[in-house]
């Protein structure tokens, strides 16, 4: 087992990892930028090293500084959390070369799953259902037109290097295709330095349902059931739940088996997530694979009663998994609380938290790094807390979330608590009827 783990991240996930390390009696090293000197993860770690200035590129993305920090503290493993360097193949490789265990995927696995066109062809070969579309990149707009006519409209044009909704265009009619192709590839070239495009059938009214998987070093893989993340705004998840209100035992079985096939196809080691789009007829299609722990992992932890970070660390240290699949025993919902003003287009609202009171009680979990007097720096993402409620039924989990949100006090900055509070009264959400289009019709009062 590792003696010392360096956490190459910040905020709530750094604290999350430190907590599990302490339970496992593994010493921890926090790294921080000058803007995070007062952060909770710095205080809770056994050791802390300042690695650079506030901008992420100078600090949390600064590979030489992070490796140097691991060197001077004699850390034998690095946990990259999510975001930042967690899916950076070069960082995974440099850790390998420096004799430090990267608690995450190998450089090859990251490369395979990171490029969307490559990931899709790998999945197709493994027999995982994929969205019908082009085989790899499109050669020309002519090819695009021909393929779209074959598949039938609507289609989606996507940049292979894209993400966060950029370099994507939905095309509903054939006379829109040419212009959409040209603007999307120009946008991709400018934003990602790679203008390569591929095409997929546009799945109407899709649900975003992902499967948590774990693989070990010995070729075993298992799934820990699904999370429904369909409530999104501009492709950013706002709230997640498990089990999915749209799920059936048969669908879970089929999706679970497909996710395990995906993991085994690349001999995946560690915790990962296979994302699927599910259409109204419960056909599911591979969307992408995330080779890291996800933000919303706590809801899975709550319903199967497992510490996923602990599992990651054990697998990285060479322990085998049992290989059993896990199904949800309870119902859990997570609301991502961001320092944003929901009444002003979710504009970021950094600043000092003058008053903070956390909700508590049965079935309530709060993963956060903020506290009264803490100043949210403007340099990083705006998520400040994850509020998770768990109960025997979906209705009760929503009752608890409503109650917990009412108790939750954060003053001095704007937060998305009012949005989540209204969501917990929304008739469609309460019925469990929602797709990724949900936020288009949602109006905040």
């Amino acid at each position: 087992m590792f003696n010392k783990i360096l956490i190459a991240n910040r905020g709530e996930i750094a604290l999350r990892i430190i907590r599990t390390c302490r339970e496992m009696r593994i010493r921890t090293v926090a790294v921080y930028s000058t803007a995070d000197a007062d952060s909770l993860h710095v205080r809770f770690a056994d050791e802390a090293v300042c690695i650079g200035d506030a901008p992420s590129s100078s600090s949390y993305l600064n590979i030489p500084h992070i490796i140097a920090a691991a060197e001077i503290t004699n850390a034998d493993a690095i946990h990259p959390g999510y975001g930042f360097l967690s899916e950076n193949a070069r960082f995974s490789r440099i850790c390998q070369e420096n004799g430090i265990k990267f608690i995450g995927a190998s450089p090859e696995q990251i490369d395979q799953m990171g490029d969307k066109a490559t990931a899709k062809s790998t999945m197709q070969k493994a027999g995982v259902p994929c969205i019908p579309g082009s085989e790899g990149l499109l050669d020309s707009v002519e090819q695009a037109k021909k393929l779209a006519a074959e598949m039938g409209y609507p289609v989606m044009l996507k940049a292979t290097a894209g993400g966060g909704g950029r370099g994507m265009r939905a095309v509903w009619k054939k006379d829109e295709l040419q212009k959409a192709y040209e603007t999307a590839s120009a946008e991709a070239g400018a934003a990602f330095g790679n203008s390569g495009m591929y095409m997929e059938k546009l799945i109407e009214e899709p649900r975003h349902i992902e499967i948590q998987i774990i693989g070990d070093q010995y070729g075993k893989a298992c799934h820990l059931s699904e999370r429904d993340c369909s409530v999104q705004r501009r492709h950013q998840k706002l709230t997640e739940e498990t089990p999915s209100p749209f799920m059936t035992a048969k669908l879970r079985n089929a999706m679970g088996r497909a996710a395990i096939k995906a993991a085994k196809a690349i001999k995946y080691e560690g915790a990962g997530t296979v994302e699927f789009l599910v259409d109204k007829d419960r056909n599911f299609y591979f969307r992408e694979m995330n080779t890291r722990i996800q933000v919303e992992h706590p809801i899975t932890e709550q319903v199967i009663d497992y510490d996923l970070i602990r599992e990651q660390i054990k697998v990285a240290a060479g322990e085998p998994i049992s290989g059993s699949n896990y199904e949800p025993k309870l119902h859990s919902i997570e609301c991502r609380i961001n320092a944003e003003d929901p009444y002003n287009d979710f504009r970021p609202s950094p600043g000092m938290i003058t008053s903070f009171h956390a909700p508590g009680g049965h079935g309530v979990r709060l993963d956060t790094h903020v506290y009264t007097g803490y100043t949210i720096p403007p340099h990083y993402d705006s998520m400040i807390a994850k509020l998770i409620t768990t109960a025997q039924t979906r209705e009760e989990a929503i009752d608890k979330m409503r109650r917990a949100l009412d108790e939750f006090v954060i003053e001095g900055i704007k937060t998305t608590i009012p949005f989540h509070r209204q969501l917990m009264d929304d008739p469609n959400y309460l019925k469990g009827v929602y797709t990724t289009k949900f936020m288009e019709d949602f109006e905040l009062k």
């Binding site: 302490r22 802390a48 300042c50 690695i51 200035d53 060197e71």
Partner: protein
């Protein structure tokens, strides 16, 4: 036992994973506790105990090589400043901070003299120290002109980004 030996001992104990070490000789007694059992504190906090330990131990006469006036102050001063955050008591001085993370060396090689010492005049481009990381040695050059007033770090110790290294009088 001089202040540098005590600091090295503390660092050694902290890194070894031991939680408590008691050392007793005819001249002094020292007790070092790391924070493994308590609520976590950063490693710097362990060094703060040094300031309290020194008065109890009969400190040997100040090292002869150092100029006499600052001699008695320098060991205690460096203990305080390495333990606490950069202080504001020397507002007129420039603080040279570390631009990187690694192990700091004050000498080009162990037998040679230090790059700079207290009292030296420096100008931009002068090498102040070496910081080694990932098997690469980086010469840290001065960006200021002035006289070195205080050296805030010891030879062969780990340093982090922005850590104060030298105080320089620019006047």
């Amino acid at each position: 036992m001089d202040i540098k030996e005590i600091q090295n001992l503390i660092r050694f104990v902290a890194r070894s994973g031991a939680t408590e070490v008691n050392l007793e000789t005819e001249e002094f007694k020292i007790n070092i506790k790391t924070s493994a059992d308590q609520a976590a504190m950063p490693e710097q906090a362990v060094l703060q105990h040094v300031a309290q330990v020194i008065p109890a131990a009969p400190v040997a006469a100040a090292p002869a090589a150092v100029p006499s006036a600052p001699a008695a102050q320098v060991p205690a001063a460096s203990a305080d400043t390495t333990a606490s955050a950069p202080s504001d008591d020397d507002d007129k001085y420039i603080t040279v901070k570390s631009p990187m993370i690694g192990t700091l060396y004050r000498r080009p090689t162990p037998e040679k003299d230090t790059f700079v010492s207290v009292g030296d005049e420096i100008k931009p481009g002068d090498v102040l120290c070496i910081i080694e990381a990932m098997k690469l040695f980086n010469e840290i050059e001065s960006e200021v002109t002035g006289k070195v007033v205080k050296v805030l770090v010891d030879d062969q110790t780990p340093v982090e980004f922005d850590q104060p290294l030298f105080l320089v009088d620019p006047s």
